[in-house]
Subunit: 221 residues, 2 copies
Amino acid sequence: MALPTLVIGNKVYSSWSLRPWLLMKHAGIAFEEVRIPLYGPDSQARITAFSAAGKVPVLVDGDLRIWDSLAICEYLAERFPERAGWPRELAARALARSASAEMHSGFFALRSELAFNAREARSGVIPSEAARTEIARVVSLWGECRARYGSGGPWLFGAFCPADAMYAPVALRFLTYGVELPPAAAAYAAAVRAHPAVEAWIRDARAEPERLEKFERGHAA
Amino acid sequence: MALPTLVIGNKVYSSWSLRPWLLMKHAGIAFEEVRIPLYGPDSQARITAFSAAGKVPVLVDGDLRIWDSLAICEYLAERFPERAGWPRELAARALARSASAEMHSGFFALRSELAFNAREARSGVIPSEAARTEIARVVSLWGECRARYGSGGPWLFGAFCPADAMYAPVALRFLTYGVELPPAAAAYAAAVRAHPAVEAWIRDARAEPERLEKFERGHAA
């Protein structure tokens, strides 16, 4: 039985790829990794060979091709409910899925202005009012999850779940750009940053040669 | 036990609200409906009373507040697997979730240019190249689902499932703007349009008084 393969973008820029990659690493699911640097001359052709949607990440598992970070998380949650599943309690699970879906389809100002850059800290980027409103919403949402369900551990619902995988890139954006956070949110972002798999992702990102100006906003700090 | 309540936007414009509304109607799940016309002076305050995310749809079920169309679909699929569930076969379910997630987080050109308008047909809107590429992608995806899993009925996976709820608004956009479709896609869009619940939604939309110019592109046809 061949290992599943996760097709990802370059680690320095591909926030969406980090989501299922982190969930799989956290859960100890063995997989091969195919890295396709984004925005190069052959990037689109290489991605389309795996998925007609033309986007990373894509999980190849036997005959299955599952594209989209959230669909991959749902697949993993089904296959590995003990290690990669949603919270077991109905209300917690509903909140976790609502929060994950909100991330999946929104926060466009934040994601555009605080471009994901896993290589290094940046300074001098001032979020717009729209982005500040979204940052406040993320902070509030993290607070709600942690207050209601987080007592059993450092993650949004105590134990690590797909919602943490969905929000990990945002936590890293906050750290990259030095966004000021209240203590509880800062502690959560620090927990994300300290996860051994996130540590490994950042180490890999720093070894990548690609540098695209549009994702290198502000000043290297 | 009180009925669940689905908080939706006005039916003429709120494509996201149609998704869970249609799934619940199709599945015969009884619910109350709260309609909040979008973009009015008190719209945001009224929506925020149900969900801090500030968006419709929101499902209120007892103590639970589930926001976001896809999260609501997942919740319904869990609670009513026989009537509102994903396809039972693993590969079909993975494809259905991938397709639904692709809709949930993408197709921005299509959604912006072919503004959802359930009231009446429009003419004279010419999709950009970006929107045409997205239309072709939707057509291709529908074709893949129908070819692989659609033999048992008119829906993407034979029987109606959350993926149909997620794509129903797009099917209606195609009809509203007279987008030319190959026969298989045209047949699918026609099946969506002929669903009794979609028929009821459109009838309700036509009775709504709200008219916002930004969603009234092209000419009434």
